[in-house]
Amino acid sequence: MAPKPGVQQMDETALIKAAQAGDQDAFGQLVRAYDQSVLRLAMNLLRSPEDAQDIYQEAFLRVYRNLNNFRFDCSFHTWLYRIVTNLCLDQLRKRKVRKEEPTVITTAEGVLDRADTLAEARADGDPQRSLYSGQLRRKIKDVLSGLTPRERMVFEMRHYQGLRLRNIGEILGTSEEAAKNCLFRANQKMRAALGEFV
């Protein structure tokens, strides 16, 4: 499970208040505390460095512009992730509408999945196992891209970001139960699609 990013609670409250008062140094520290996990979330969801970079910039610009509207009703992490997940969901929905496959590019060597060129935690081993792993990875990517944006988002936050369903519900403006149902559906779909591998 990925450790939850951020700074210690007392420090964070002081930093947010300082940033709200116009202290840019404090704002910079807030950015640095969370930006790696924001970029990882966007990158894993969108599988495109350019799109992830756009989400990163837009998210932190929105945080900067709206920081004075943050009233400590929820954690800063939750507030920031609401912004990030809304931006990512919009992007995922646009892709669904356009039926784009943004991770696929055509090169002189044929059509490649750009995600295959990204750094992944690969399991190296004997050739047979590598072949199996490669097929499984491709299948998993297919299945993930076939989920609805909300299912994809909940699965991403639970599995890769290690967030609790209660927190995910809070971020997405829904109940823990609804988030759980969404994760359940995502798992059902994936297990059905990956049946030959498991």
Binding site: Q24, D25, R32, Y56, L61, R137, L194, V198
Partner: protein, 333 residues
């Protein structure tokens, strides 16, 4: 249990992913665990579920450090153009770059360089690079740096630099044997070591040394080292620090030329914005006599940016202002 999927097995298997996520209630977990104790088939299913979960981990993408760095630099450049957030009791800027400086330093310097606020700057650099050898560096003429005698040091590497409470520096060298040198920053030997270490492969060490040298930019050899850094250093954070040290010397041809090079060719938007800001600042402060010296190359680059390349509205406004200050047209002829 005979392994067939009865109603309990179906219910249990649906819960397995949530069991692995630790998202079952106490009662739900109790029911599942109880069934697993009695059902070998469901225990096998749990193992497959674990394997699947591990397989999901293998498609996780970790953004590269370079991408994160690029994001931080782009954000810093973008925020520099943003007005203060509405409602903020905005802290007065000491200079036009004060908060920008801090932000750039904060987001672009390597993590190893991050220090608690107010703490004394202490270097904790892992290993070293800059081989201290006598000689002339590219971009440096027959100045005092290149002529400084380092023969008595042999082949050495600066391992770390620590400012001491009395204002002197404590430098640790890697040689055949390690030794330390203590001295003030204006001491010739200390200065030579610092200048040579501006080419160290470790970003953090270069950044710290360049930051120290910016306070000594009245010395020609230091200015030359800073000019070399802004033209050649691979790390934008280090280049930005070097720019800081030169802002009081924009009237000098070499410095203005380097800023012009940055404007024309530096790939980092924050560097270009800072360069044009410094040019405008320097041109605003120059006296009548200096104003009569026409820097045709700088004017050409500014006009080129205005006419062909520059899409950033802030950059265009600054370029236009710089051209006005030298009484040049924004048009290319």
């Amino acid at each position: 249990m005979n392994g067939e999927l009865d109603q309990n097995c179906v219910a249990t298997r649906e819960q397995l992913p949530m069991l692995l996520y630790g998202e079952l209630s106490f009662d739900e977990e109790e029911t599942v665990e109880s069934h697993l104790d009695d059902c070998a088939a469901c225990r096998s299913a749990l193992e497959r579920e674990r394997e699947l979960s591990t397989a999901f981990d293998q498609v996780a993408v970790e953004p590269s450090r370079a991408l994160l760095q690029a994001c931080r630099e782009d954000l810093a450049a973008r925020l520099a153009l943003e007005p203060a957030p509405s409602g903020a009791a905005h802290i007065e800027k000491e200079t036009v770059h004060t908060w920008w400086d801090k932000f750039i330093e904060l987001v672009t310097m390597p993590t190893a360089m991050m220090r608690p606020a107010g703490a004394l700057a202490l270097l904790a650099i892992g290993f070293i690079g800059a081989r201290v050898t006598p000689g002339v560096l590219p971009g440096f003429g027959g100045d005092s740096w290149s002529q400084a005698s380092l023969a008595n040091l042999g082949t050495s590497r600066v391992r770390s630099v620590e400012p001491a409470a009395d204002g002197t520096l404590h430098i640790v060298l890697d040689e055949t044997r390690q030794r330390t040198i203590d001295g003030a920053i204006d001491d010739a030997e200390v200065r030579s070591l610092l200048l040579a270490a501006t080419k160290d492969p470790v970003d953090g060490l270069r950044g710290e040394i360049v930051a120290l040298l910016t306070k000594q930019a009245q010395a020609l050899d230091v200015r030359n080292a800073l000019v070399y850094t802004i033209r050649n250093d691979q790390n934008a954070g280090v280049r930005l620090k070097a720019l800081d040290g030169l802002q009081a010397f924009i009237g000098e041809d070499e410095v203005r030329g380097a800023l012009t090079d940055v404007l024309a060719a530096d790939g980092n938007p924050a560097m270009r914005i800072r360069a044009v800001d410094l040019l405008v600042q320097g041109l605003s402060q120059q006296n009548q006599q200096q104003a009569q010296v026409v820097d045709r190359r700088m004017i050409g680059v500014l006009q080129e940016l205005m006419n062909r390349q520059e899409e950033n509205p802030y950059m265009r406004e600054r370029c236009q202002r710089a051209l006005e200050l030298v009484k040049a047209s924004a048009e290319l002829f």
